[in-house]
């Protein structure tokens, strides 16, 4: 047997220690939060109606606001993202300039800082689009109707932010479909659109779902883009109209952590809210990882 050299040992020790450190901090973060937060999650805390003080819990409207915002976002970004991916993978020639432009736009979009999305949402959706709608349809209204922060504008801003996630994941899934499948369908006389709709998309279903889950997980956790486009600090009800402001778990964490009048008293509620937010985002991420792993294993088999 070969003797392990000192250099080899040092390299393994240093790199192994780094991995242990990274995984250790992941466990420490989740552990520290879940241990303190999980006991707070009583049915009353989670599904109760809120009282006057956010520190007392009653997160129902916050959860409903988060879910509504995320759902609206998904409805807006998934069709867009899947269609873009279909065009990139099934229609555009691989080396075409146009496809290159779209790809680099997707890449750019993914690199834009979330706070810039917030500025954009305010400047474009709230002030420009909302302003235009108001001036055309609500010229007689006393105050702004669409030209103010609302759940609709937050969702659309988040939809653009998560668009690259859906496009990239879906395109990856489409690319793993073997050529033979397409050729078999064409040979049977199917048109290109029929191939896409009846063969390609069903085949890529789990990949598309992975993209949707990742997008939801990403979108539900972002706070910076919604700060100026629709989120409100504390109100007692859930949004009932696309033009309403809404409460959001992420923003709630931010407010409880930094602006609570009595920090000590707000602690339990804060931990509970963080655990809920993690349940929504982190567990979805794990689901996506497993789903992706399975679909890759399936593609290999």
């Amino acid at each position: 047997m070969k003797r392990v050299s000192r250099g080899d040992w040092l390299l393994s020790a240093a790199t192994g220690a780094a991995v242990v450190l990274v995984l250790g901090s992941l466990v420490a973060i989740l552990g520290a939060i879940v241990v303190r937060g999980a006991p707070v999650l009583s049915p009353k805390f989670v599904f109760g109606s809120p009282g006057a003080d956010p520190a007392d819990g009653g997160l129902l409207p916050v959860i409903l606001g988060t879910v509504a915002c995320t759902l609206l976002m998904t409805v807006a970004c998934v069709p867009l993202g899947v269609t873009t991916a279909v065009w990139l993978s099934e229609y555009a020639p691989r080396t075409s300039t146009l496809a290159g432009i779209v790809r680099s736009a997707i890449r750019n979009l993914a690199a834009v800082p979330s706070i810039v999305f917030g500025l954009f949402g305010l400047g474009f959706f709230v002030l420009f689009v909302g302003g235009k709608i108001d001036s055309v349809f609500y010229a007689q209204a006393t105050g702004p109707v669409f030209a103010r922060p609302a759940i609709l504008w937050s969702s659309l801003t988040l939809a653009l932010l998560t668009l690259p996630v859906v496009v990239v994941t879906t395109e990856e899934a489409l690319r793993t479909i073997p050529r033979d499948v397409r050729e078999a369908a064409f040979a049977l006389g199917a048109t290109r659109l029929q191939v896409v709709w009846r063969v390609i998309l069903p085949h890529a279903k789990s990949g598309i779902w992975t993209g949707v889950i990742l997008a939801v997980s990403r979108g539900a956790g972002e706070v910076a883009p919604i700060l100026f486009t629709g989120v409100v600090g504390w109100q007692s009800r859930a949004p009932t109209d696309a033009r309403d402001g809404f409460m959001h778990l992420g923003n709630h964490v931010y407010l409880l952590a930094t602006q609570a009048p009595d920090v000590e008293r707000a602690q339990p509620a804060l931990y509970g809210t963080v655990v809920l937010l993690l349940l929504l985002t982190f567990s979805l991420n794990i689901a996506a990882v497993i789903l992706r792993h399975r679909s890759r294993a399936g593609a290999r088999a």
Partner: protein
């Protein structure tokens, strides 16, 4: 007319000449698909346009204030000309230099912490780990990216701040170092993923050649594989840096958010992103403060865009170098 306009349903028309004759409505749908694909292009352009639109009047309204944005000025009550960010002071002072310094300080510290850890982890996973370990650990590290930044901000604010306070007995509980450690947690998955990809892209033949020459494993790794992957590793750092500069919630919650100009890592600091997030809500539309905040947004957009392009082109160059020109994408 009627025959053409009717959508064709059900069975496709058979054709012996190449592809099937595509019904007209399908062609229309295909045009729509192509049009939708360009929404992303429109989105990127309009992000730049509409953020710049709110900032642009800075250059013609009140032009005399422009130099104050970056040059030190002798303010009443100060001993010497100074860079001051005090948008609600009287007179309002909008010198962005303290914010840029704060951003560089926090992201620089975060890179110092995250870079080596992420790179070492990538070397372990790409070069040394058994396949079983890799298949579990790699997704686990990437899961870091799935923790919302507001949660990491909260963790920094409560746990990291407390820990450092006990450890060093600091003057300011929330400071640049606390924010940097929190920020490091978001950079690690980026640097890790990209550099691990770069290391794995190094062809096996290089490792085999090195081993055949009698090199130890550590010699092969450090003297052959890592140098070959260096452009990709550099790209990983650039991309991580870009991510860190744009991060908002962590620095907003944990940096102490005072626009201080000094070199100490444990004094309070304030980044560009945190400034926008903290102040825009209370700013009157169209005022100078509002315009400066949007201008900072344009600056962020351009910086992150440039860093991302640099990173992407370095990765592409590396791939060509290692696998020849046909190995695109």
């Amino acid at each position: 007319m009627t025959a053409l306009a009717r959508p064709v349903r059900g069975k496709p028309r058979p054709s012996l000449l190449g592809s099937t004759a595509t019904p007209r409505w399908e062609r229309i749908v295909e045009r729509l698909i192509a049009a939708v694909a360009f929404v992303s292009v429109a989105a990127v352009l309009s992000i730049l346009a509409f953020v710049a639109r709110e900032a642009a009047p800075l250059f013609w309204e009140g032009r005399e204030h422009l130099p104050d944005l970056i040059l030190p000025r002798q303010w009443a009550g100060y001993d010497a000309p100074a860079h001051v960010w005090q948008p609600v002071g009287f007179p309002p002072k909008h010198d962005v230099v303290p914010l840029l310094i704060g951003t560089l300080k926090i992201t620089g510290l975060a890179m110092l912490v995250a870079g080596p850890i992420a790179l070492l982890s990538a070397v372990y996973i790409a070069e040394l780990a058994p396949r079983r370990v890799r298949e579990v650990v790699k997704p686990a590290i990437e899961l870091f990216a799935g923790i919302p930044s507001v949660v990491l901000g909260f963790f920094s604010l409560v746990f990291i701040a407390h820990f450092l306070e006990r450890l060093f007995g600091l003057t300011y509980r929330l400071n640049a170092l606390v924010a940097a450690l929190g920020l490091a947690l978001t950079i690690i998955p980026v640097v890790f993923t990209v550099s691990e990809d770069a290391l794995r892209a190094v062809p096996k033949s290089l490792r085999e050649a090195s081993a055949a020459l009698g090199a130890r494993r550590w010699q092969t790794t450090l003297l052959v594989v890592v140098p070959a992957a260096l452009p990709g590793i550099a790209a990983a750092f650039v991309l991580g840096f870009g991510r860190a500069i744009g991060e908002t919630m962590i620095v907003l919650m944990a940096s102490g958010i005072a626009p201080v100009v000094d070199a100490s890592p444990v004094s309070s600091a304030r980044t560009v992103t945190a400034t926008i997030a903290a102040e825009l809500g209370e700013t009157a539309r169209g005022g100078e403060h509002w315009r400066v905040l949007f201008a900072l947004g344009v600056l962020l957009f351009l910086i992150t865009w440039a860093l991302d392009r640099m990173g992407a082109s370095a990765v592409a160059r590396l791939r060509r170098r290692l696998h020849g020109p046909e190995a695109e994408s």
